[in-house]
Amino acid sequence: MVTIALVAGFALILAGLYGALTNRNILRMIVSFTVADTGVNVVLVTVGWMPGRTAPILDAAVPVAEAAQRIIDPLPQALVLTAIVIGLGVTALMLAYAWRLFGATGSLDISKFTELKW
């Protein structure tokens, strides 16, 4: 199961990068970045999984005394929690910039923005 999840995560990263590099419409590039972001999060959470163990919540199912033998690694989950929220913030920022770029030039095609090229 770990292999399946890892392969899925890495394949999402590759698909997202391919979409970001070959599309010319800015909104499509942002959508592909979102897919790659999800892939990275899947890989990070998969690394923390251990066979035969359960989620890191110490309630009636996992008593406190045997917590160290029954729960999986909680640290990747805490990191991915932050990463997902920041990913939304970055997406919102990219969309705001795309909106203003469209307002300034009337086009969403990235090959039309040549002011910074020599």
């Binding site: 999402l12 997902i84 939304l88």
Partner: protein, 84 residues
Amino acid sequence: MSLLLPAMALLLAVAMLAAAILTVVTRSLPLAILAAGAVSLFASVLFLLLAAPDVAMTEAAIGSGLTTFLFFFVLARVGAGNDG
């Protein structure tokens, strides 16, 4: 039971990859945005199978809810006529 979880994970992985490929190759932008939302949704269920309920809740609420809505918002203002 021991074969059920890997089978579900395989099903979810295949669905996620199909949705991701749809995002990259489709010609229509609303379909690409919806497929990205579907990727987030399947990833959220995969997180649940990987024993990470906190991450699953966050990904479901933020990844497939708010992100899809943000995209459609901006798309409606900007216009889908600019295809590339």
